[in-house]
Amino acid sequence: FPLAPETEKENEEDMQFAKKYLEKYYKLKTEAEPIFKTKNSKPITDKIREMQEFFGLKVTGELDSNTLEVMKQPRCGIPDVGQ
């Protein structure tokens, strides 16, 4: 039997893709987490929300198919958020 069903692998690939996208265009920090992180802080969810809000998508914080579709569109390399 395969170690993981194909859909799980696809989901993991999508999540890795989304992480890279959010790191690049929404300054997602996956290393060096802030010391004063709140208990319920979910950086990826927050950044997905930020991205969904910017693109006028339904804001869920979840990596749904519409969000993924927008992430996969060809685009300009400049981040959408101020640095």
Partner: protein, 168 residues
């Protein structure tokens, strides 16, 4: 529309640009035409004037680059990131880089160079991304008929907050 943090802008209205190299995807004359047309989009609604230079320094250097190209923001091969440009400033400020791994065209068979250049030059002049879906500064590429192209109002409003309307 939005501007970059601190709203950097050029303090002069006569800007020089230089095309450092060409993509093999297009005839050089077609690249020249797309670039010139992209500048016209912005000069028609501001007091800005753009003059091409062929050697030496220019305010805005334009080049086609693949992968790592010396600015800590490597391109990623075909698809995804198409190009990037820097906000107004000295040195690399204002410069526009196009991903050579894309297929550039004067029409819509590949990525239309005019559409992407016009967007990037918006960054070169100080505009950041807009979340107005119909605007030129929206971050995703949208193929469209470029004949009689008219700059959307959101972009006109944005650039005129930085430079004002054309001087009649």
């Amino acid at each position: 529309f939005s501007t970059f943090p601190g709203s950097p802008r050029w303090t002069k209205t006569d800007l020089k640009y230089r095309i450092l190299n060409y993509t093999p995807d297009m005839e050089p004359a077609d690249v020249d035409e797309a670039i010139e047309k992209a500048w016209n989009v912005w000069s028609s609604v501001t007091p800005l004037k753009f003059t091409r230079v062929y050697e030496g320094d220019a305010d805005i250097m334009i080049s086609f680059e693949a992968g790592f190209h010396g600015d800590f923001f490597p391109f990623d091969g075909m698809g995804n990131t198409l190009a990037h440009a820097y906000a107004p400033g000295e040195g690399i400020g204002g410069d526009a880089h196009f991903d050579e791994d894309e297929y550039w065209t004067k029409d819509l068979k590949g990525y239309n160079l005019f559409l992407v250049a016009a967007h990037e030059f918006g960054h070169s002049l100080g505009l950041s991304h807009s979340n107005d879906f119909g605007s030129l500064m929206y971050p995703s590429y949208k193929p469209m008929d470029t004949r009689n192209y008219r700059l959307p109002q959101d972009d006109v409003d944005g650039i005129q907050t930085l430079y004002g309307p054309p001087i009649s």
